[in-house]
Amino acid sequence: RHPLATFFHLFFRVSAIITYLFCDWFSNSFVACFVTILLLLSFDFWSVKNVTGRLLVGLRWWNQIDEDGKSHWVFEAKPMPTRAASTEAEARIFWLGLIVCPVIWTVFFFSSLFSLKLKWLALVITGISLQTANLYGYIHCKLGGQKSLS
């Protein structure tokens, strides 16, 4: 039902990984690659958090600060009574993309650590934190939603 959202959900994450792997082919400049991957990771984080999560699986999480300055993390799940085949497929793609990519970035972390290409470490750590944050947020939503339905 949301082909564009599905496409974008995977597009930014996969492009970031591909750019990281093949940055030597695209450009000689470390800075250009760094900035490109950083921007792709940020767009991915924003689009997964704000758009694809609510469109594909009806989950949402955010941080709210109330008047006395305390911050709450809010996790929401839209109750979905009937699941059509197309939404099942979309949900599967969503979770697959969400889980596989942080794993790949963790692999990059160890590979850059052990091959001593330390200048990429900042980028890989950023990638891991952003993608793991989304993963954690959505898992929390999902578990919270199940608790309230039972």
Binding site: N28, S29, F30, V31, F34, V35, L38, S42, W46, N50, V51, R54, G58, R60, N63, Q64, I65, D66, D68, G69, K70, S71, H72, V74, E76, K78, P79, K119, A122, L123
Partner: protein, 217 residues
């Protein structure tokens, strides 16, 4: 409301705020209006929030509503542009200026995290991401200073240009520090304010130092 008995609003602080309905009492149907909103609306809403914060940094006034909707887009953009402008400036730079770029990045983000941890450990009431947000946005005057310095360096790099750059950097450093303390110092207990302001001072000092000692190769 017992707490309101001794609340007084002094005349010179403008009273502003947003009336927000607490999350728990929103009905699920109202929720779907933002849950199903078109993507363009989401983008415009976030862009406007970022723009508003930039304006708030340029004209700092005590406003607690600014802190409530934190976002890290502004700091990201500022950090990247500052790092881009600062690369290739050290004497032993390699061809692509790679290490300097990553160094600036790490200094800014790691420095901001350390200051935030410091203020939390001193008993501050501000949340982690709010503090990062404020510190990041207040780099704006220094980014402007970097831009101006690069333009001045295009014209020449003698004593006069150094004096001009010094004045600009000092002015912007002062602006950054004042802007960020205007937002952050309020969240600390009164006898700890200096302990919180000092690391912020140091953080912006290091960034100003990098800007001032930048010489293009």
């Amino acid at each position: 409301f017992p707490g309101l008995a001794d609340v007084s609003i002094s005349e010179d602080i403008p009273v502003e705020g947003e009336i927000t309905v607490p999350v728990g009492s929103r009905s699920p149907d109202e929720d779907y209006s933002t849950l199903d909103e078109p993507v363009k609306d989401t983008i415009m809403r976030d862009l406007k929030a970022v723009g508003k914060k930039f304006i708030h940094v340029m004209y700092p006034k005590k406003s607690s509503t600014l802190l409530r909707d934190w976002d890290l887009w502004g700091p990201l953009v500022l950090c990247v542009s500052l790092a881009l402008m600062l690369q290739g400036g050290s004497a032993d730079s390699k061809d692509d200026g790679g290490p300097q770029f990553a160094e600036v990045f790490v200094i800014i983000w790691f420095g901001a995290v350390v200051i935030t941890l410091n203020s939390k450990l001193l008993g501050g009431t501000i949340s982690f991401f709010q503090s990062l947000c404020v510190l990041g946005y207040c780099i704006l005057p220094l980014t402007v200073a970097m831009l101006v310095c690069r333009l001045v360096l295009l014209a020449g790099s003698g004593t006069v240009s150094f004096i001009i750059r010094l004045i600009i950097v000092v002015a912007m450093f002062g602006w950054s520090t004042l802007a960020s303390t205007a937002f952050l110092a309020d969240s600390q207990p009164p006898n700890r304010k200096a302990l919180v302001v000092y690391p912020i001072f140091l953080f912006y000092f290091v960034i100003s130092w990098m800007i001032l000692t930048f010489t293009p190769q």
